[in-house]
């Protein structure tokens, strides 16, 4: 599977892909994108890097991506559950605008946090599945 061209190509596109994923994640509030898509893209990038590298995808830390699923669920659930302790129904979101120097008015929404959880689960899922299947 290893090919030099691919390896070189991936070396440069990998960070770009991750950056694009981050962009999609942040853009998702107001234009197409969001946690799912960003997560899938990130996972694709990671898988690509496996393919390009000499390592077999099955090598390396086994637990990280499984744990990532757990963390993602944890983040999502916590975001949803916090309002309960403040006396609101489960899943109540809030948002607000904060003035950040240099960037101007930035929107902060608790829903983003939930989206982050989604992102983590998607990445964890795809990478775990692909590693499991190809890492025999």
């Amino acid at each position: 599977m290893y090919s030099l061209i691919l390896a070189v190509a991936v070396r440069y596109t990998y960070p770009l892909l991750l950056l694009f994923a981050a962009f999609l994640f942040l853009k998702g509030h107001n234009s197409p994108g969001g946690g799912f898509i960003a997560g899938l893209l990130t996972a694709a990038a990671i898988v690509l890097s496996y393919i390009a590298s000499k390592r077999s995808p099955g090598d390396g830390p086994d637990r990280f991506f499984v744990n990532l699923i757990g963390f993602g669920l944890c983040v999502a659930l916590t975001t949803a559950a916090v309002p309960v302790f403040l006396g609101y129904p489960f899943f109540t979101h809030t948002f607000g605008f904060v003035d950040v120097p240099l960037l101007g008015k930035v929107e902060l929404a608790s829903a983003s946090l939930f989206d982050l959880g989604v992102y983590m689960v998607v990445v964890g899922n795809v990478v775990t599945v692909i590693r499991a299947m190809t890492g025999q």
């Binding site: 999609l24 998702g28 509030h29 107001n30 234009s31 197409p32 994108g33 969001g34 946690g35 799912f36 898509i37 899938l40 893209l41 996972a43 694709a44 898988v47 991506f65 499984v66 699923i69 757990g70 993602g72 669920l73 999502a76 659930l77 949803a80 489960f90 899943f91 979101h93 948002f95 929107e107 929404a109 829903a111 939930f114 989206d115 959880g117 989604v118 689960v121 998607v122 964890g124 899922n125 795809v126 775990t128 599945v129 692909i130 499991a132 299947m133 190809t134 890492g135 025999q136």
Partner: protein, 768 residues
Amino acid sequence: MGAVLIALLLPFAGAILLNLFSAPRSARAGWVASLFAGASFLAVASAALGGIEQPPTLYLPWAPALDLSLSLLADGLSLLFALVISAVGVVVFTFAAAYLEPHEQRRRFFCYLLLFMGAMLGVVFSSNLLALFVFWELTSISSFLLIGFWHHKERSRYGALKALVITATGGLAMLLGFIMIGLVCGTFEIPELLGRGDLLAASPWALPAVLLVIAGAITKSAQFPFHLWLPTAMEAPTPVSAYLHAATMVKAGLYLVARLGPIMSPLPLWTPLLTVIGIATMVWCSYLALRQSDLKGLLAFSTVSQLGLIMSMLAAARPEAAAAGLFHLLNHAAFKGALFLLVGVIEHEAHTRDVCELGPLRKQMPKTHLLLALGALSMAGMPPLGGFISKEMFLEQALHLGPLLAMLSVAGAVLTAAYCFALAFGVGRGRKTEGASATATSGAEAPHDPHFSLLWGPGLLITVALLFGLFPQSLAGALVAGAVEAAVPGSSLHLHLSLWHGFSPTLAASAVALGSGYILYSRWWQTRTPDNPLLVTDRIYDFKLEKLESWSKAVTVSYMSGLVWRYNTIILCVGVAAISAVFLCFPVPQLQAWPARSPLVFEVAVALTAIAAVIGTCIAKTRLAAILSLGASGYTLALMFALLGAPDLALTQIMVETISVALFLAVFVFLPSWRPPETRPLRPGHLALSITAGCGACYLVALARGHRTATSIAEFFIENSAKLAGWHNIVNVILVDFRGLDTLGEISVLGIAALACYAAIKMAPQRS
């Protein structure tokens, strides 16, 4: 009523305590159980001596919403049966304690026996039809367990199952009848039902209810044609046979007839049907008894025949007949219980109960034989034993039944006398053939009278049978009179039981019966070799059971293919058929177009590509081609999403499709050693089915979309997405906010899927 409640609870308490505090094979279990039975008997006796309280019921609610209560009723009828149950119970318990071998599971045995006793008391004390049914079923179950107590024997298991199958079927029929009665009359309480018989008579359910209740009664009492289970039930340990299958359980059917008589006897068919069944059973089964060589088989058929006699009496719902039946029931409990126990003793000592293999008992076991003969003579109706009086009363009543039934009754009495003589004299004389004697003597020592612990029980019962003959009025008069009063309410019977009734046609009939019986015995029975004929009903039962098994197998195998495409075919066929049926039954609505726009050329091209990709996937010859076409169809789909104003979907679809295709390829193509898939010819049936289903689904959606009745809830999302949730990408807002819970579930699915894949790959297969 307190005493009755205690009597009812004691056996159950005993069963529980026995289980908690006794070793499985404890020798003490029997004595402890006997103690509980004895206490229960004392409680019943004290209730009986205390006279009948007014009102004789105790209401114990169970599920009031269902009119289900465990209320108790202690009138004369209940007390008579309860006395028989508990008194015979005490004798049988003590007998069994001495009878069972030390290695047997005594705890289990006595636990079952106590359960049975409690259930039986429950049947006769219940004042609610449903509660009666509860205990009724419990007797069937405990009888199943007791018959199968020696469960390693094939015959025991067979007998247990047969008894259960027949009594449970009858029980269910009876339940249905009870529910009908309850629904019509508005109550399940027996005392209240008594006043509402006319409601039942006026209802269309009267006849079914009668038939169903009769079915319950005659299966339980092993009446013709359901007499088949009792002989095979004789595989039970002898104390069980004595208790359940002679003295008590089989009498539950009689109790039911007596108890419901006041309500049911005015209804059509009740009296005639039961009378005919009773007399027929009496004649036919006494004939069968005469042909048995197995002593227990003989007694079993004799029990059935005697029960038939009592049944015919109780069905008549006349006070005199009821008195005859109930008094005979008392006698029967005494002598038949004793006879069974004695056969048990004989089997215990001689290791056989076949008439042809027994030695001269009169010499070998004189005491046992004396008791056996007395019991048999009481059954034959020989004065001065109790059986004589009740037989007289029976014959007197039978003369009222019309010439044919009267003649049959006398014939039954003749046959009964014949097998009783056979039991009394034939067995004692010894019919052992030479060959059999050689094998018997070569083995153990010759049989002899057992220890007193095994004899006093039957002795006591025989004594009671004797005393019933000598002092009938003082011993049983009040009891029977009280019971008659309950069974035939409003009767004014001046019952006087006595040995001597003066010269009458009845006496002549008695004499004829005894005389002819003796002749039959000496001329016919002694000269032929008894066998154990296989019953026709038995054959039917076996055949049906076998059929049930083979038929169920055939039916199940025919559709449970285990092939997944057949499952799918069935689902699709059912779906298509159901939807077609809907369109056949209801007017088909017009297909209405919702605001549409004409497609651009580009869009048509994309759509055609997608269709082509799908067809390509279906007809692909290699794996790689199939997977790549699948990918192509997915990407064109993404394009369509984009064209339809769903950029989020398009992006997601592209990513998912890429990863899916990668997975497909990883699994199906790049792994070595895979055979190429066989190419399969086109399957026109499947194709037609799938096209019908696929196009049908689209048609339905289009149809529904044209008939929208209200605005979509999505208006709310469009309106409030930016205002209340702060974001502008509505789809994303729906996903994380409006319908965030869906997303939470969805990422759970993703997580689980990953775990499952991981586990499936990493875990070495378990060898099972």
